[in-house]
Amino acid sequence: MTDYELVIIGGGPAGLAAGISARKNGIERILILERDKELGGILNQCIHNGFGLHTFQEELTGPEYADRYIQEVRKLRIECRLNTMVLDISPERKVTAVNPSDGMFEIQAQAVILAMGCRERPRGALNIPGYRPAGIFSAGTAQRLVNIEGYMPGKEVVILGSGDIGLIMARRMTLEGASVKAVAELMPYSSGLKRNIVQCLDDYGIPLMLSHTVVRIWGKERLEGITLAEVDEKGRPIPGTEEEISCDTLLLSVGLIPENELSKDCGIVLDPSTKGPEVNESLETTSEGIFACGNVLHVHDLVDYVSEEAELAGKYAAQYIKESKASQPVECIKEGKNGQSAVYRKEDKSSRPAELIREIRLIPESGVSYTVPQKISPARMPEQVTVRFRVRSIFHRCSVGVYFGERCIVQKKRLIMAPGEMESIMLSREKLREFPEIKTITIRIEEQMEEA
């Protein structure tokens, strides 16, 4: 078994930024494990531009954005293994993986960063009735076929779901000569960026059908058409509104799910709202020394925020590694029943002073669907902690209220908030220390009083 200080699972934008940050924070032995044949993750197939405005103050395409990090990883000589699938992570941070050149191998890591990204919800999850012909793809699969493999999946396209991937693919398929007949969206609003609605649909005259869904799939061998229907406010198809559209391709862009099978098997507690690990202010999961960042933690809207979050994860993992070195665990000899003795590591958490263990829960309420992190330790937190969250639906003229216990601390006015956009607020250590008794911080969306 090989030893590394830090093992990062995933070489996409999150993994790369985490690795770079950990190295810059003084960690020498870092290993990035990537399942694909190249670094960069899903960015490689996101060939459109619009990435990096926050990070680099310029508009890059996905592969260009990824390349900036890949070059940095190379420059810093961070070890990466490609074509490598991680099979298991133990709570003791033993990582089991397999690849064609090394076979199956185990690595003992002092810290692990989860950066596995997310996957698309498949058709089955929607349970759309009908046949199961060829021609139904998730939008990301089609994106890979077109942008990496260079193959067109079809000529007459309907897209279900108006998230950004769906919108981007509507334009991409059109540019490649396909006719995109409609983008249908179950909700009364699109979760995609306005910019994408305008530049991917309006520019090409592609209709966006809000409050519509696919209720039937036609064609036994290859898709021949779909039935679209309007839905009521509960998302149920309204009888009599059905409309058949002939098409040979249906692309599904109906949601992303963080890929946490490894985390689950490791016993890490997941947040049912984000479907990602529950983390503290250091982005540390409920399993000590295992951190998470990027889309495996919660689905992000902009890659820039992934990079930002990953940089923090790298920094905190580095801190953790250095701290555990500084306070080498006391090794105790314990007499076994049969007279043999075993060496075990003394739990360090139990010896921490109470103030270090005290954690404040963050509670998403009225209109807020989740927060990341889910808890904060006032003792361990840095000066400022960014809390990211999303809202459940569109809010006009509202405000974000932050409550320490019952007491309103911040009220931030907003003209509009939408579920498609990740929101954030800052919590300062100084402020938190003014309230040593609080157990919870609540974030809620409140209607704003009209000003006279």
Partner: protein, 472 residues
């Protein structure tokens, strides 16, 4: 002229082919699809029934019992996954207890071993997620689950290795009786055979009626299913049946052999023999009924739904044997549930009948054992690493949800009767069957399959015919 032409490469046809490959005979299997296991055999519950359902004295009852008994040995000989997990028929209403008792007695009459009526407490101890309304349950320890694809494919491969020819994409259009034997007209030409086995599933009536005046009538009885994520796979550990009604065994909940949870089927007679579509009503019915016997079913974990057609013959029983007015034409028709369970016995029965008819002699070169696709996960680490060192493709995971390597996919394409479609790869290896439903692995599987078949990716199909995946 072939000695025997078998029409249909489903589980019954392939079981017959495999059992007949013991003999010196020229045998050919004709299949209208691009692969084996494309009809009813691919879309069912994957259950090995204990045998208490069928009326005593029927062929169904007999074949079920024999098939169940033989399944263990057959699964070892042919290396396909089968586990005897046991099954429970749950009774949730006091007034139905009598019917449960009847079922028990019928089972005993049929010769089912180990049947037991359980108390409410015993049932809940065995399966804590069973409905709190449970009154009693019939426990059948000989019930089991099998991978229907692997079983069908294993039978076919073993038959092929022992000399049986398989002709795919060959739909039978007409059968004529000749003075000696039959002429079978297909899209790709005529076949001549001394004897015919009609294992055409949902179309067995059509074929039978081409040569016989004693008409068969097969009604497609649709069954829809929902397959749940492996996260839900341990919700129950045995097959949980409802008390059977007029239309079969009702909606069941069962773990699958690969650790998913399967819920279904519905049961609706339809007219369209190609109607394997799922319906809004069907999917709603599953959701409504499944919760009756099992509590807190996580229906949010559905990863796919599908539908299959049971070949229900009007008489209600299997129709197996030589047509009275068409000597040499052997039916294997009306094979609805428990058809999968019965297949090992049905194959043997048909082989016996044909052996007598044609006076076949045993082949000296017959080899009844077959090895399945090597699953590296079953190997100890040392051996797995030896395998990868020798063939790095076994270290490259293509389907991340099911952990399927490139080595397995290549094997699936290269072995006898190798896969030639994406669904063929899926049924042989499980690549694409997991929770992302091929979202990630499809482009990679396409690349490997195109390379193996030496065709352009634009030629690849999902399941033969016009099911091309790309439209350049």
């Amino acid at each position: 002229m072939y000695d025997i032409v078998i029409i249909g490469a489903g589980v019954s046809g392939c079981a017959a082919a495999r059992e007949l490959s013991r003999y010196q005979a020229d045998i050919c299997v004709l299949e209208k699809e691009e692969d084996v296991c494309c009809g009813t055999s691919k879309a069912n519950s994957g259950i090995v029934h204990a045998g208490y359902d069928a009326k005593p004295g029927t062929l169904k009852a007999k074949m079920n019992l024999l098939g169940n008994e033989r399944m263990g040995l057959l699964s070892k000989e042919l290396d396909f996954p089968f586990v005897r997990k046991g099954s429970l028929v749950v009774c949730t209403a006091k007034e139905e207890l009598l019917r449960l008792q009847e079922l028990y007695e019928r089972g005993v009459k049929n010769g089912v071993k180990g049947l037991q009526i359980l108390s409410r407490e015993e049932t809940l101890e065995m399966e804590p997620n069973i409905s709190a309304d449970v009154q009693s349950a019939l426990f059948a320890p000989t019930g089991g689950i099998v991978c229907p694809f692997s079983m069908n494919i294993a039978l076919a491969e073993n038959a092929a290795v022992n000399g049986v020819e398989f002709h795919f994409n060959t739909e039978v259009r007409d059968i004529q009786r000749l003075e000696k034997g039959f002429r079978i007209e297909t899209e790709t030409g005529s076949y001549y055979a001394k004897c015919v086995i009609n294992a055409a599933g949902i179309y067995a009536d059509k074929l039978h009626n081409m040569v016989s005046g004693r008409k068969l009538s097969i009604i497609p009885r649709k069954g829809e299913y929902c397959l749940l994520d492996k996260n839900a796979g341990k919700h129950v550990s045995r097959t949980i049946f409802a008390l059977p009604g007029a239309y079969g065994k009702g909606v069941l909940v069962t773990p699958t052999i690969h650790g998913n949870l399967l819920v279904g089927p519905t049961s609706v007679d339809i007219e369209n023999k190609e109607g394997v579509d799922t319906t809004k009503e069907g999917l709603q019915e599953i959701a409504a009924k499944a919760g009756k016997n099992v509590e807190n079913l996580p229906m949010r974990e559905v990863i796919t739904s599908f539908s299959g057609l049971r070949a229900h013959e009007e008489s209600g029983d299997f129709v197996i044997g030589e047509a009275e007015d068409a000597p040499g034409f052997f039916d294997c028709a009306g094979i609805e549930s428990p058809g999968l369970t019965s297949a090992p016995a049905v194959g043997v029965l048909l082989a016996e009948l044909l052996q007598k008819k044609l006076n076949l002699e045993e082949s000296t070169s017959y080899n009844g054992s077959r090895k399945g696709i090597l699953d590296p996960r079953t190997l100890p680490i040392k051996e797995r690493n030896k395998l990868i060192a020798g063939n790095p493709a076994y270290g490259r995971i293509i389907c991340r949800c099911e952990s399927i390597t490139e080595g397995e996919i290549i094997d699936a394409a290269r072995r006898p009767l190798g896969a030639c479609s994406i669904d063929g790869i899926k049924r042989r290896t499980r690549a694409g069957m997991g929770r992302c439903q091929s979202g990630f692995c499809l482009p990679k599987v396409m690349e490997i399959l195109a390379r193996e078949l030496q065709v352009s990716q634009t030629e690849l199909t999902k399941c033969g015919g016009n099911s091309k995946l790309l439209k350049p």
